[in-house]
């Protein structure tokens, strides 16, 4: 059981001799995935990591998200302590969203994943094409 293994991350796993790491449904990783593993959360964090933004602007930055779902996503992230919602009582009202330190912290952990996507998704696509061709013949 050396560094680099999952075990070194300190999960509440079964580690009896001969057994395998187990990820119960209430382990931290699954909790995180359950929360930000939806369609828009990561994207929202990503956009707000660049700059604080108002609702309408935010929506225009994320292609295809409906107004209802964006509201839901923002509420969840606010509840998680990842972003703050600032209401300015102008007329009409203006609402600005920005990441908390915790949100920025998560985002920095996600950056590596995004860079991977930038540089490696072409390889994934190539693999998919090859796989599909194998199935066709």
């Amino acid at each position: 059981m050396q560094d680099g293994t999952i075990s070194s991350l300190g999960h509440p796993q079964v580690t009896e001799p001969g057994s395998r790491p187990v990820f119960p449904s209430d382990c931290p990783i699954r909790q995180l995935l359950d929360r930000i593993g939806d369609k828009w959360s990561v994207l929202t964090l990503l956009v707000l990591g660049d700059t604080a933004m108002r609702f309408g602007e935010l929506r225009r930055c994320i292609g295809g998200v409906s107004q209802k779902v964006l509201t839901q996503t923002l509420r969840s992230l606010e509840r998680d302590g990842l972003l703050t919602r600032l209401v300015e009582p102008t007329v009409p009202v203006s609402v600005t969203y920005s990441l908390t330190p915790l949100g920025l912290d998560l985002l920095s952990a996600l950056r590596l994943m995004m860079e991977w996507a930038e540089t490696r998704m072409t390889l994934v696509k190539a693999a998919q094409n090859e796989y599909d061709q194998r199935g066709a013949r």
Copy 2:
């Protein structure tokens, strides 16, 4: 447009003066999230990152996944070139899954996220409790 911003990652964004970064539905990050943003993909990569494993064993390591869905998940990841499926024609048949170099590479990018979950999910839970109490009163 400085380092550390989203823009520095090189997205196919609109960058006209005064405009904001835009994440169209076909940008690499959204493609990646569409692929591994499901309920079990990341978890599967995680388990296989530790050690190659057979189907039944794999299933026991991921609490709550059904046989059908695990099969689907594995097929997708194989199609993406992230893992390999090795069939040994014994009786009964034995199938071993292991990560490809590309899969290991992605996993290393995801490790930071997992460590974040390990150390920060308690903070998220605390934020949720506080949020819920505010709504209750």
